[in-house]
Amino acid sequence: MGGHSNWPEWIYVGIVIALMTWVGAEAWEAERLVEHVPEDAETIIVTGQQWFWTFEHEDGTKEIGELHVETGKAYKFEIVSTDVIHSFNIHDYVVLMDAVPGRVNTVWFAPDAPGVHDIQCREYCGLIHYNMRGTLYVEDPA
C-alpha cells in the first residue's frame, strides 16, 4: 500500500541479518573453543542435592560446600544430581552446567590466579535454593 518504494527497509533488514550472522559466527567460534576439554584435566565429581554441593576429587577426597583447586591445572567437572535439577555455577569463571538427575554433564575450567570465589546453585530447587552456596578456593601449588 502507498506509492513509495520499500528499499530502505530491505537495506535495513540486510544490515540486521549481517549483524546477526556476525554475532552467530563469533559465538559459534568461541563456544567451539570453550567446549574442548584439555586431555590432562583432573576430574572432579560434583554432586548437587537439596541443598548443598559435594565435590569428589580423583584421589577420592571429598569436600562438602567448599572446593580446593590449584592454579595452573585444568579441571573437568562431572556434574550429577541425586534429587532435583540444580545448576552448578562459579560465576567468576563463567562455569555453568545443570545437575540433572540421571545424567552426567561435564564442564571444565582452568583457574589462573589464587583467590576465593562463590559457588552457587542457579536453578530453582526448592526451599533453601537461595542458600545452596559454596566456596571455591584457588591456591598456588604447594
Binding site: N6, V23, D83, L96, N105, D118, H129
Partner: protein
C-alpha cells in the same frame, strides 16, 4: 462499540451475553483485575529483596509461592486475556462481521478463566511458572501443585477455543468484498498468534497430563527414579512457551500498528512487510525453543542449531520496529497518552531485543542464564513491550468502551512514571545478572553491588506501583465522571483516512 456506561444495563446481561463486545468487556475487566493482583505480588517480591535477610516475608516457601503465582498470573491471567479482550472487540469489526464466528464458544472460553484463576490463587503453588520436574513431581507440596496444573490445563483449553474462534472469524467470516491482504494488521496479528496457539498449546497440554500422572505416581515420564527424563519436559514446555512469547507479543505489536499510524496521521509505512514479519515470527518462533536449555547438557550441534533459530527471529522483529519508525517519520504526530505508551513500548522493545541476542549467543548465555539478567530481559519484553502496548490500547479504546474520556494528564503521569520505573527496575536487573545474582532467591549475601542494585530496582518498582495506583484511580473516576467523549474521533486526530474499512459494525 458499546457505550456501557452511557446505556447502563444490569450486570448479568453482560455476564450472560455472548456478544463479542460483552465478552470482550468481561475479558478486559478480568485481565485488569489480575494485573493489579499480580503486580502487588511483584511489589512484595521487590520489597523483600530491598535488603539481605527477611524483610516482609518471613519464610522462603512463602516467597517461592509468591513469585510462582506472580508469574503465572501476569502471563496467563493478565496478558493473554487482555489480548483476547482487544481481539473480541476489534477483530469482528475489522473483518466486518456481526460477531465472532462461534459466540457461545467465545463466552465459554472466557468463563474458563475465573475458575482457573481461582485454582492458581487458592493453591499458591511454589514450583515456578515452569514447574520443572523432578522438583514438581517429588518435592512440590500438594494440593497447591495439582491445583496449578489443573488451572493451567483449563487455561490451555480456553486459549485453544479462543484461537479457533479467531482463526475462523478472520478466515471464513470476513466480508466477501475484503481480501485477506486487506485485513488490518491488528487482525493479522490475531491470526498469526492464534495459529501459534493451535500448534503449540496441545504439546503443553500433553506435558501437563504427563506431569499430573507422574505426580500421582502412576507413570514416570519425567521422573528419573522411574526411568524418566526431566529434560523431556523442558523440551515439551519450551516448545510451547517459547512460541508463546510471540503469542503474547504479536497482538501487542498489532495494537501498536493500530495506534501509531492514527496518531502519526500517516498510513503504515509498509503493510505488506508487517504481514510478512508476523507470519515469519510465528514460524521461526518454533525454531528457537531450546535456547532456554543450553545449560542442560546439549551437544554443540544442537546448541548451534537453536542459536541460529533464535537469531532468525531478530530480523522479523526489527522489521516491525522499522515500520513503526518509518510510519512516524515526517508524520504530524500527536502525543496523546496511547501514542506515548506505544512509542515507549517500541523503545523498550529495542532494548529487550538487543539483550535477547546476548541470551541466544552460546558462550554469553552461560554468564547470564538463570541470573537476574534473564529476569530483566524478559520483564523488559513483557512489561516494557507487551504491557506498554496493552495499556496504550486500553487508553485508546477507553472512550469507545465507556463513552467518556480518561484524564489525559493522569494518563501522561502514569506513562512517565511507569517508563522511568521500568528502566530503573529492568535495566538494573540486567546489570545485577552480570554480577551473578541468581533469580528466584529469597535471600542473598550482603555483596555491596547486589544490595545497591536491588535497592534501585525496588525503588523503580515502587514508582511503577504508584503510577498503577494513579491508573486505577483515573479509570474508576473517568469511567463514571469523565467528560463525555466524541466517539467519532475522541483523540482529535482527524479522519480515518489511512484506514480502508469503515469501523462500523452492522449489528450496531
Amino acid at each position: 462499540m458499546v457505550l456501557e456506561l452511557q446505556k447502563p444495563r444490569p450486570i448479568w446481561q453482560i455476564m450472560f451475553s455472548t456478544h463479542h463486545t460483552d465478552v470482550g468487556l468481561l475479558y478486559l475487566i478480568t485481565s485488569l483485575g489480575f494485573l493489579f493482583l499480580g503486580g502487588s505480588l511483584a511489589l512484595a517480591i521487590r520489597a523483600e529483596l530491598f535488603l539481605p535477610g527477611a524483610q516482609i516475608i518471613t519464610d522462603s516457601m512463602t516467597f517461592n509461592r509468591i513469585f510462582t503465582v506472580h508469574g503465572t498470573t501476569l502471563i496467563f491471567l493478565f496478558i493473554l486475556p487482555f489480548a483476547s479482550a482487544v481481539g473480541n472487540y476489534y477483530v469482528p469489526i475489522m473483518v466486518r462481521y456481526k460477531d465472532m464466528a462461534y459466540p457461545k464458544l467465545n463466552a465459554i472460553a472466557f468463563w474458563m478463566i475465573p475458575p482457573s484463576g481461582a485454582l492458581i490463587w487458592l493453591g499458591f503453588a511454589d514450583f515456578t511458572w515452569y514447574a520443572t520436574p523432578p522438583y514438581s513431581i517429588i518435592s512440590a507440596p500438594g494440593p497447591a501443585a495439582d491445583m496449578w496444573i489443573f488451572g493451567l490445563k483449563i487455561l490451555g483449553i480456553s486459549s485453544v477455543l479462543g484461537a479457533i474462534n479467531f482463526v475462523v472469524t478472520i478466515l471464513k467470516c470476513k466480508h466477501p468484498d475484503m481480501s485477506i491482504g486487506q485485513v488490518p494488521l491488528l487482525a493479522w496479528s490475531y491470526l498469526s498468534s492464534s495459529l501459534i496457539i493451535l500448534v503449540a498449546i496441545p504439546t503443553f497440554a500433553a506435558a501437563l497430563l504427563m506431569l499430573l500422572t507422574d505426580r500421582l505416581g502412576v507413570s514416570g515420564f519425567f521422573n528419573p527414579a522411574m526411568g524418566g527424563d526431566p529434560i523431556a519436559y523442558a523440551h515439551l514446555f519450551w516448545f510451547t512457551f517459547h512460541p508463546e512469547v510471540y503469542v503474547l507479543v504479536i497482538p501487542a505489536i498489532g495494537m501498536m500498528y493500530e495506534i501509531i499510524p492514527r496518531f502519526s496521521r500517516k498510513p503504515i509505512y509498509s503493510y505488506n512487510s508487517g504481514i510478512f514479519a508476523f507470519v515469519l515470527l510465528s514460524i521461526v518462533g518454533f525454531s528457537s525453543w531450546a535456547h532456554h536449555m543450553f545449560a542442560t547438557g546439549m551437544s554443540f550441534t544442537e546448541k548451534t542449531v537453536f542459536m541460529v533459530g533464535t537469531l532468525a527471529a531478530v530480523p522479523a522483529s526489527a522489521m516491525h520496529v522499522f515500520n513503526f519508525i518509518a510510519t512516524m517519520w515526517n508524520g504530524r504526530i500527536k502525543f496523546s497518552t496511547p501514542m506515548m505508551w506505544s512509542v515507549g513500548g517500541i523503545a523498550l522493545f529495542f532494548g529487550a531485543g538487543a539483550g535477547g541476542v546476548v541470551n541466544s549467543a552460546m558462550p554469553l548465555d552461560f554468564s547470564t542464564h538463570d541470573t537476574y539478567w534473564v529476569v530483566g530481559h524478559f520483564h523488559l519484553f513483557v512489561m516494557g513491550t507487551i504491557a506498554f502496548g496493552s495499556i496504550a490500547f486500553f487508553y485508546y479504546m477507553f472512550p469507545y468502551v465507556t463513552g467518556r474520556m480518561y484524564n489525559e494528564t493522569m494518563g501522561k503521569i502514569h506513562f512517565v512514571m511507569s517508563f522511568i520505573g521500568t528502566i530503573l527496575v529492568f535495566f538494573t536487573q540486567h546489570v545485577l545478572g552480570l554480577y551473578g545474582m541468581p533469580r528466584r532467591i529469597f535471600d542473598y549475601p550482603p555483596i555491596p553491588e547486589w544490595i545497591a542494585m536491588n535497592q534501585i530496582a525496588t525503588v523503580g518498582a515502587m514508582i511503577i506501583g504508584v503510577s498503577m495506583a494513579i491508573f486505577l484511580a483515573n479509570m474508576i473516576y473517568s469511567s463514571g465522571k469523565g467528560k463525555l467523549a466524541n466517539t467519532e474521533d475522541p483523540f482529535g486526530v482527524g479522519g480515518k483516512y489511512y484506514y480502508p474499512f469503515e469501523a462500523k459494525n452492522p449489528s450496531h
